[in-house]
Symmetry: C2
Subunit: 421 residues, 2 copies
Amino acid sequence: VVSANGHPDFPIQNLPYGVVQFELFQPEIVVAIGPFALRLRGALEAGWGEDLSLEIRAALMAPWLNELAALRPADWTAVRLALSDALADPAWEDRLRPAMELIPDDASSFDHNVPVHVGDYTDFYASIYHATNVGALFRPDQPLLPNYKWVPIGYHGRASTIDVSFTVVDRPRGQIMLPGATAPEYLWTRALDYEVELGLILGDAAGLRWPTTAETARDRIFGVVLLNDWSARDIQSWEYQPLGPFLSKSFRTTVSPWIVTSDALRPFEVPMPRRPAGDPAPLEHLTVPDDFTWSIQLETQIETSGMREQDLPIHTVSRVNYADAMYWSPAQLVTHHTSNGCIMNVGDLLGTGTISGPTPDSCGCLLEMTKRGTQPIILPGGESRGFLEDNDVVQILGYCEAPHAVRIGFGDCSGSVETDE
Amino acid sequence: VVSANGHPDFPIQNLPYGVVQFELFQPEIVVAIGPFALRLRGALEAGWGEDLSLEIRAALMAPWLNELAALRPADWTAVRLALSDALADPAWEDRLRPAMELIPDDASSFDHNVPVHVGDYTDFYASIYHATNVGALFRPDQPLLPNYKWVPIGYHGRASTIDVSFTVVDRPRGQIMLPGATAPEYLWTRALDYEVELGLILGDAAGLRWPTTAETARDRIFGVVLLNDWSARDIQSWEYQPLGPFLSKSFRTTVSPWIVTSDALRPFEVPMPRRPAGDPAPLEHLTVPDDFTWSIQLETQIETSGMREQDLPIHTVSRVNYADAMYWSPAQLVTHHTSNGCIMNVGDLLGTGTISGPTPDSCGCLLEMTKRGTQPIILPGGESRGFLEDNDVVQILGYCEAPHAVRIGFGDCSGSVETDE
């Protein structure tokens, strides 16, 4: 446990949850503590957590985090405190040691599952810089549509293709209208892109009853993951009118394996940016008292096979802070989603939408950064990219820093591209 | 069983599956036979089905139809034949009698579940008449967008709010931009509508691996339900740009409780209508050899509280045949959905999109029929409707007729509107 001190992502102030399949056992809930994954089933068997309610302990034995997320925020905090107490007590170190698994240097060899069963996945569009940049490419005369500053725009995503970090993304095929063509063709996408997002994981089964008011929406968020909403831009531009993106997105969504809890993020809560003068105030049902966002620093990195051959390190192509980029807060996304009476379930995943800042080096996708591929980025070693090529690796990193707080991180969220001909 | 003869919906040529909760028992799979629901668990306990494989019999004991749908089409047919054989044999009548429950006259008192667990719900837009009518209201200069005749347009729907017939639909609230207003308001919808659709339920776990080719797509369809995609048109018109419908649809989707199987629909397969001269041929991957659709006659009925007070019968407001209305076939919808590598699961629900014919009395929603409420329909007793009002009941009926075949039907798919202030 001493070795958790100074760990860049997983000091004992973080305690993120994952689900790992160990050999032939049922998947188990684990907590990252420095370089270790503590198997909670083993910890319970070793006598840890005896002061927790039977309901909580049963939830910690489940093969996913839905049962824990279904309990109340006070229960989530109770588990966190029980872990902190044990980890601060040297007497516990020996007792928990058998339940500690070293996370391999090549984390991809750890058999992570998506940590919750996701019933429904919704993707928002809450960064005004992203919406403006993308809008300018598709509608130069009207980048931002009239509803943007009133409605947290979102759409339903595909739940069946959510996968956890370290997986291969098969380049999708689809209908593409090539420039100058008069008919579309069924082709491998030539405009494969990533989208850097956060994913909010909902919990608190009692609180998910309608209406989830702005006052209580923040307590519905069990935790946060990194999310990559892979996108095929040429398929998207041809298919998306009038009902929105469909096959250009549904082939794969990657999430990071560790859920960083709302509790762990508390030291990094900051006020939402003030709306610019002249912008409308949110309608009353979307007005959240003491609303906040999180200061989460995000970095996107790309590594090509050419860079690997030259032993060049993975390259950071953009940096952005979530707190600076969004027009709508986490609580506003939850409130809006329930404002029509929609039934939310524990484990529902809400993507924030691509997180982009105002400058090119803070854009959360290649579409924006390369102006639809027309201004490619240059990578170390001299390769350029308008969009992703085969064997490219895209990795998203996320971490939180604040004065008087210990840095915590999300681990990584990565995927590599292949064409399965 | 004799009483099944001449039943308009459930003769022994139909044998649709449902799932019913009997008192405190686990939900059970039932088959509609005339006025009866045969509890398959009870039938198996009475000795029926002994020639079926253990795998099939286990699937019939499940609390939903996913396990049966996951088996191969030949297994589906085997169950059907085993039922037909027993029902044709008078010796079986007494043995099965204890497992037969009379479906109450007020079918809503039967505690139906949604018959499958739906992982993902997709809604298409495959009726060219509907797309043209709706497009003309929103974009008079360009009713049909350039992609329509190439791409089976669809979008992801919300799975958590799928419910079975006979439920109350709470009128949703949402952001609405009233005519002439400069800012939206959060209001109860004033433009609540229904959409008449069919829902395809996918099965055959082995067959759902990518790619599902056009040749095999038809075998992926386990069965069909009626579907009402309730819609709030004023919320929809304000929110839907640029990512498609979201809260205007996600509050509720109703399906009929009985799945009519692909086997039962076989006598009603008809060729897809020929595309008009000048229309493009589908791309090769969407070209289905011997493609077909089903001749399914649909009727939409409305009953108001005023009509009930005057003892007026429920009123049919439109009639349409599915076979005449669609530009894309069932197999094309499945093929398109998997064409990007998207993982499909057993129990996935694919809505066809609103089924409208070319004439006003064949439109599948009020938006079209009343030209956005401007030309209300007149009901018996003199009431008019531009959109739905509280206590209105909307009922969709579906049935199949063909020469040399016994008529089969879907049962009804109904819901009533309330405002939960």
